[in-house]
């Protein structure tokens, strides 16, 4: 495959295996400035791929360069790149500000306070910056981790499932931050197993299934393919029967069923419409919608559907 001369991240025929288990299998792609989403069901190899790109793991085969440089054991490159791991564990004894300061010090930033203030302001955590990391909600912790990852104003950002644990409002805020950073010329590679999380912000997607790159390219084209398949969404409301009655009346819904835990499972071929219609419908009917999420198995079948095509 020919690599564009200006690509920021080049992944060339990369494989990674652990013993007899192949986690990533001959994957090649390039990432350019803007937001690129790395999508795939759980266990698809996304985290391994991001670890390889970040330089945390060594390729079993193939090679990866970022900004034209090898990514492994290249401390000077890390000055221009940031990585936010999926796991949320951080130094819980630090306050949010101390975590960002710690990161800034390791990047050798000066003046320190200015960079720290700027990063905390970008993620909107000024008011809670002096609370300990252990005392934050999941979403707040994610934002402070992001602040620590961007404190050195990196050109390239690699974010592994950064929207885990965030509520819809925080998700919108996060998307705005990402879009702003991307508009300044940065290259952002962001992974998710939930399509809707990154749908609105990523211009391009890389779809991984079972360690292989199943599809890549324009988001809308892949989205259109996905929309041809029925899609399951689980919703949790305080009045499930009333909500279910209202949902059944919708044209875009194929079926509605109840799970054992009382949640409603909606099957639809127009998932984008469903995602916007259901919250509005709940609000209009005075029903409290506490959760709405795609069901993984369903998402996986969609990904497989794409691969088969």
């Amino acid at each position: 495959m020919t690599m564009p001369a200006d690509s920021v991240i080049d992944v060339a025929d990369v494989s990674k295996w652990y013993g007899s288990v192949v986690a990533v299998n001959e994957v090649s792609f390039q990432v350019n400035p803007g937001i690129t989403a790395l999508l795939g069901p759980n266990g698809a190899g996304k985290t391994t791929m991001l670890h390889l790109i970040a330089g945390l793991a060594k390729c079993s085969d193939g090679q990866i360069t970022t900004l034209g440089e090898p990514v492994r054991n290249n401390p000077s490159l890390y000055q221009r790149v940031s990585f936010m791991p999926e796991q949320e564990s951080v130094y819980g004894f630090y306050t949010g500000r101390q975590l960002v300061e710690f990161s800034a010090k390791l990047y050798g930033l000066s003046p320190l306070a200015e960079a720290v203030d700027r990063a905390i302001q970008i993620v909107g955590m000024e008011d809670a910056q002096n609370r300990t990391m252990d005392g934050y909600s999941r979403g707040m912790r994610q934002r402070m981790r992001l602040a620590a990852a961007i404190v050195h104003d990196p050109q390239v950002m690699i974010l592994d499932e950064p929207l885990n644990g965030t509520d819809p409002r925080q998700r919108i805020e996060f998307q705005k931050v990402m879009e702003r950073l991307a508009s300044q010329g940065r290259t952002i590679l962001i992974s998710s197993h939930i399509l809707e999380e990154v749908e609105t912000m990523a211009g391009r997607i890389l779809l991984m299934v079972s360690g292989k790159l199943a599809a890549s390219g324009d988001f809308r084209a892949i989205r259109a393919k996905l929309d041809e398949q029925a899609y399951q969404v689980r919703i949790v409301v305080d009045q499930p029967r009333r909500m279910a009655s209202a949902i059944v009346a919708l044209d875009d819904v194929d079926s509605v069923s109840f799970d054992d835990d009382g949640s409603i499972v909606v099957l639809s071929r127009k998932v984008a419409t469903i995602q916007t219609t259901l919250p509005r419908m709940a609000q209009e009917n005075g029903i409290r919608l506490t959760r709405m999420e795609p069901i993984d198995e369903s998402l996986e079948s969609l990904f497989e559907y794409i691969v088969e095509r």
């Binding site: 970040a54 060594k58 054991n73 401390p75 990585f83 791991p85 564990s89 990161s103 390791l106 620590a148």
Partner: protein, 241 residues
């Protein structure tokens, strides 16, 4: 590197760990007080004190136990919490990371262990400053060498404690008592030989079973350096979770 050192000290200086070190450090001092009161006039007291309290309890037990509890956690905790990625992807050389972990282990364990041994020797061996200095310096060498080995072990395996226990109690405790020459590859052997080498008169009881002083110093330095190098190499080559 100061930033990493501070972080490492905060990670390793947890209340429970420090309480364990304190407790174990007080033990030799308390025993020294008790036995010096009980057996003050006994002629064999000095040799018993050296054999049982300094060699058996301090160098053979407390020194490795405390050091393994701290040093195996230096990287072990980072791997378990999956926080190592926060530091390895920063623009800092790997040897800075390894050195900060090693120094943190030595700083947390060293002062208490050294003070414990030196004070116990002072109480039990007639307030001889030369003996206390010999014990303190030898324990410093022991703490540094063990810390280097156990920091590496913490990076190599999730069962670093098991490795450390096997090394200390099987290799140094059991095998070295049956096979001549094992002391040349034993931190316990280095520690005792350095102790004896600094004050041959005061610690003459050890003369029959220690290796040569230069060999002990060279061995301790070489082992510390080799395991530090292996730690840096491991940090470069490993897949960080």
């Amino acid at each position: 590197m100061l930033t990493l050192l501070r972080l490492s000290m905060r990670q390793l200086g947890g209340k429970r760990r420090v309480a364990l070190i304190l407790l174990l450090s007080i033990l030799p001092i308390a025993l020294a007080v008790v036995v010096s009161i009980a057996e003050g006039e006994d002629e064999s007291f000095d040799s018993d004190f050296i054999n049982i309290l300094l060699d058996g309890l301090m160098v053979g037990g407390i020194l490795p136990i405390v050091t393994m509890a701290v040093a195996t956690a230096a990287f072990g905790n980072e791997l378990e919490d999956q926080t190592l990625s926060y530091i390895v992807l920063k623009p800092i050389p790997r040897w800075h990371i390894a050195l900060s972990k090693l120094l943190a282990s030595v700083i947390i364990t060293g002062p208490l262990i050294i003070a414990s041994g030196a004070i116990a020797a002072w109480i039990g061996m007639g307030a001889d400053p030369r003996i206390s200095a010999a014990v303190g310096l030898a324990l410093f060498a022991g703490v540094t060498t063990y810390s280097s080995i156990f920091s590496w072990a913490g990076l190599m395996t999730t069962r670093a404690l098991a490795f450390a226990i096997v090394y200390v109690f099987l290799w140094e405790g059991l095998i070295s008592s049956f096979i001549n020459g094992v002391d040349y590859l034993s931190v316990r052997g280095y520690t005792l030989a350095i102790m004896h080498g600094i004050d041959k008169d005061g610690l003459g009881e050890l003369s029959e079973r220690v290796i040569e002083f230069p060999a002990a110093v060279g061995g301790a330095v070489a082992v510390s350096v080799v395991f530090f190098y292996l730690t840096v190499r491991r940090l470069r080559n490993m897949d960080v979770p």
